[in-house]
Symmetry: C2
Subunit: 333 residues, 2 copies
Amino acid sequence: MIQTPYLLFLGDAPDQLAAKVAQGIKDWRPDNAVGQFRMEGCNADLGLTDMTLVQAKEAGAKTLVIGVANRGGVISAAWKKVLVMALEEGFDLASGLHNLLSDEPDLVAVAEACGRALHDVRVPEVEYPIANGIKRKGKRVLAVGTDCSVGKMYTGLALDAAMRERGLKSTFRATGQTGILITGDGVPLDAVVADFMAGSVEWLTPDNDDDHWDIIEGQGSLFHVSYSGVTMALIHGGQPDALILSHEPTREHMRGLPGYALPTLEQVRDMALSLAHVANPACQVIGVSVNTQHMSDSEAKAYLAEVEDRMGLPATDPFRFGSEKLVDALTAL
Amino acid sequence: MIQTPYLLFLGDAPDQLAAKVAQGIKDWRPDNAVGQFRMEGCNADLGLTDMTLVQAKEAGAKTLVIGVANRGGVISAAWKKVLVMALEEGFDLASGLHNLLSDEPDLVAVAEACGRALHDVRVPEVEYPIANGIKRKGKRVLAVGTDCSVGKMYTGLALDAAMRERGLKSTFRATGQTGILITGDGVPLDAVVADFMAGSVEWLTPDNDDDHWDIIEGQGSLFHVSYSGVTMALIHGGQPDALILSHEPTREHMRGLPGYALPTLEQVRDMALSLAHVANPACQVIGVSVNTQHMSDSEAKAYLAEVEDRMGLPATDPFRFGSEKLVDALTAL
């Protein structure tokens, strides 16, 4: 578990897009973001207060989060200098970079000397159990996609925000790097060893109040041959009471698989529901979340209306039109 | 890849059952088994020639395989003495034990000094790729079970033996510890990191002759919530042309999951086939393999006849009645 709140490290980000992890933290957990740290040449700006390490420490920040992609997969000397200083100032470090903080001997040595933690959120920090399949208390919802990267994390975070706003009990349960950095906790599911995948999802979503919703971040797709095993573990480890179908209608083939067409929403509904019933016979599909970013406003509305009509389920683009329909469907369960 | 042939280490096995890995090697790959090494107090006997390390070396053995379970999860001092001597005599060591050879500093030091390899077949030795889903040449068959431990490995090994006997081209592709030790090669799928599961199965079953069959060892079950993700990766990474349904009719609940009933063969057929069609639209279910060990001869025959009648598929217990029906069905494809 990563100590919050954060100072967001934007480094020498070449543009705003390079800082999208930091942007995600600021958008979804503004209370976690005390300020931003920018180096010379940084072209990203989150609109947060620029702070020195000392100022951020005084403002209560506990962890310096690398909220930016690095260039060429290397932690540069300029970055390293700031990271070492941060450890010396008493910050933990957290990163979702491919090249790990814990693979840098100098950072490891300084962290040890200062008693600070290095969090590489691509690497599991927990020994997860093997799933036991025992029914847990509380309620769980999971987004399952026609493909990877269709907006499942966004859907979950938006749903969580809308439920909290209505005073409902909900927790977003991160299963990927960005989600873990945003919330400070979670399971890096794609890095978990096969035998423990479903168990790690059980661990992530334990017994809870009867009226509490765990919103489990979805991954992969049952129809994506590279990652379907991960999706399966989410469905069987998560024991969802509700499924949301996620889709991006303009995609021409499965991500990274040119020979593979996307399944229909009906195919995903039927397959996911059959599999979910193994762990939770009461599971229902409650709605559709569509990523309409490549459609005009009228196209998006027409598409959503068509899906609602065809499938008899509420359909929305949470980014464009909010997630109220999905919250309504969950509370009606 | 483990160097063959082997000297089979039976240690101080308390009974024959404790040496079942060695028994599997002797049964399925007799050419791999030069002899057996037994210590004082060993109550197992494979009927192979008892050999000293020197005799086995002269007979051509390259690897000492630990073919026996150890007591209390510890590699005892008595075992250690033999293992060190074997390394010094020029043997590699191979083991499927939970406690790893590579976690024993003395074995690691001696192996390094002697230039020998330590193979812990529970740990991947390869950096597997992410699956790319590209259609491969050659044919593949996979057993999918109603549950774990219903005889999928046995079915695959028996099918492989029967196909070779008919002069057909086939290769058993091991995906578990015992299978890897038997054949000397394979993927320890339950220990592979989530993102690379399907890719490891693609790696294991590469392009081959058009008339060659890879017989992929099945794991887990789509209906076993602890391990279903592993089964999924086999179906999508394996791109099977043919599926065999495996079942043990007397089991009262899913292995290790008291609250979970077994699915019907029809449920497994429909679910596995739908998922297999994502990677290979031509995939067919070609037969049923039933583990009838807890049934009388007449019960077994009646059960198999009933399954054949009900499902319109050939059904056999490969151990009891041979796998000819399954070979016939494969060659008829």
